[in-house]
Subunit: 366 residues, 2 copies
């Protein structure tokens, strides 16, 4: 018997329809045709999705576990998400909650090349929580973004990422921006501290390859990518082609509530090679709950599967006064990202950054 | 003043919060930072998203129109969807309903190379509705799929597409399948009728390029792609690189209810070059309403913008007895796709296909 992956869905349904609904999902996500039309024994036995379990979670909400043959996926991440949720994503009463993958598929995808330890090593911070801020707004020329980067660096932040809206626009072309920011950081009197610029990739696979090369020319070895826009197959290909580069994954276009964030951002982005995953923290501009954030961070960090841990990066409207609460919640295996709230300090940006950094460095874990 | 795109969102909100909510979306989808932190005049004037209109559609549901500078998109389809819906996709009370693009962006993306007239010409059917069926289930070897294709061809169908679950699996590798099906169709005694095989692309950009080349080697000039899995930038790049190839777009992973299907599948997939768009018809396995399907078909076909029309392909559990009703509903500018229901005829597949085809060919439009 071939190995199987187990997809766990949450389905809104009444109790009398759930068995048929579960069976319909199993068929939709595998052969997508009437079983009566299938004569082939191998297909009936192995390829047709199997309902493995159905359990009522609460009134009208069921957890459905369906197994699929690993052979249907091959080794392509795009085909993985197609098999797990492709057509079923068109139903609004089903969410993809979690997935258990066979070892061969995990090995094939491989996870982060650097992960938590690698991102710590890059900035010489072996144990404490990492810090990050963001270059924005888009519309500024490269030189102005480079000035901001310099001031973040002088404030002592570890990572300075592009806003995910920065692409290859005329007002700040990718190569020009990377060269300007990298030059500013090389010149930064940052007290000998290491600091890494993380430019945001955009465009098709070839364009992103060119951007990674341009970043490399400027001495930049850490980049940000939006896997749901790039396409999972292209994201994974870039990771495999560039083992020396660290990848920060951004959640843009990851939707809400259709694929559980702990699985999509925590487990799957990590599995495909994200060294760190940005996600909307609870109590910010987005609606993730503390439970969702905790589960996501665990999925990114846990030790299962022999994969390197991916750094959770809670973000989205965070402020310096929340640092102690966040470090209490996440512990030290985290990268705290504060963007707009630091930029709001304007001419006191360096000082505001330094205050954020000090709060992270000085925190006493309970 | 630079040209702007207008994004139209539907937002669930109470009346007293909607102005602030609209403003928050405008900021999230542009500069993503406090406006108080922005000193630059150009950014404040052009780059910050503008709330252009707010209107209550029904109790608790508002239509919000926000304009964004075209310069923020440049010419990249991935960046287009990032600007339109990236972070806002993480809020579950907002859907992206429609978008009005400036002419320069429409010209830059360019739409289908072939479209309705091209797909009609390929199969020598200048005026009537087109017919299509699907090769499945996955798990069958290439030779068995080729036998099915032959019988569909003998039944007189115009297009034979892969099920979107067929990728490059070990049991039916892409190249082997394309060669087997193409050979079977060349040998088909299909009464001199033209018939086109439409294999399904999967994988990263380079892999899909290789698949298009393999299809071309076998004389196949029409392919299927899943834009939401491939990534919109990669989809568009393939279209531009292969002007002689026609592209059928599949809705897998297009989600439900977060981006309005008429915009995503009808307008955007067409704009990026889909010659035909498959979508779940009302009354089938999926929950699209007749209104949604009608709006989607119109968006794919309408004459605005000087783009070639894209063929609507309603599908998802259709049967031959629904042909008259569907042709009444959609008219002749349509491709009807029946897959599983024909395969369910098993040894009478050719006859079932011929009955479907006859119903389409003989239909008298009212």
């Amino acid at each position: 018997m071939s190995s199987r992956l187990h997809a766990i869905y949450q389905v809104r349904s009444d109790a009398k329809s759930i068995e048929a609904r579960a069976q319909a999902i199993a068929v939709e996500q595998s052969v997508e045709m009437p079983l009566s039309a299938i004569a082939d024994d191998f297909v009936r036995r192995e390829i047709v999705g199997r309902v493995e379990a159905v359990a009522e979670k609460e009134q009208g909400l069921f957890e459905v576990r369906i197994s699929l043959a690993a052979e249907t996926v091959g080794s392509d991440p795009g085909q993985l998400i197609n098999m797990l949720f492709g057509n079923t994503s068109l139903h609004d009463d089903v969410t993809l909650h979690d997935v258990v993958l066979p070892g061969e598929l995990i090995k094939c995808f491989g996870g982060p090349h650097h992960g938590l330890q690698g991102l710590r090593r890059r900035v010489g911070a072996p144990a404490r929580a990492l810090t990050c801020s963001a270059l924005k707004p888009q519309g500024l020329p490269a030189a102005r973004l480079a000035e901001l980067a310099l001031r973040f660096a002088q404030g002592g932040v570890d990572y300075i990422k592009d806003d995910h809206g920065l692409a290859d626009q005329a007002y700040s072309p990718f190569r020009e921006r990377v060269e300007a920011v990298a030059a500013a950081l090389r010149a930064a009197p940052a007290g000998g501290r290491a600091v890494r610029y993380v430019p945001s990739l955009a465009g098709d696979l070839d364009t992103m390859r060119g951007q990674i090369a341009a970043a490399g020319d400027a001495g930049v070895d850490t980049v940000m990518i939006a896997p749901m826009i790039a396409g999972l197959s292209n994201f994974h290909r870039l990771v495999r082609e560039h083992p020396a580069v660290a990848f920060l994954a951004h959640p843009t276009m990851a939707g809400a509530a259709r694929i559980a964030p702990p699985f999509l951002l925590g487990t799957l982005f990590r599995l495909l090679g994200a060294d760190a995953v940005v996600f909307p923290n609870y109590g910010g501009r987005f609606g993730y709950s503390p439970d969702t954030c905790r589960a996501l961070a665990r999925a990114a960090l846990n030790e299962r599967d022999g994969l390197r841990p991916s750094v959770p990066v809670p973000a989205g409207g965070m402020t310096t006064d929340r640092v102690p609460e966040m470090l209490d919640f996440y512990g030290a295996d985290v990268m705290l990202l504060i963007g707009g709230a630091l930029l709001d300090a304007r001419e006191r940006l360096t000082e505001a950054t330094a205050a954020f950094v000090a709060k992270v460095h000085d925190f006493k874990y309970g």
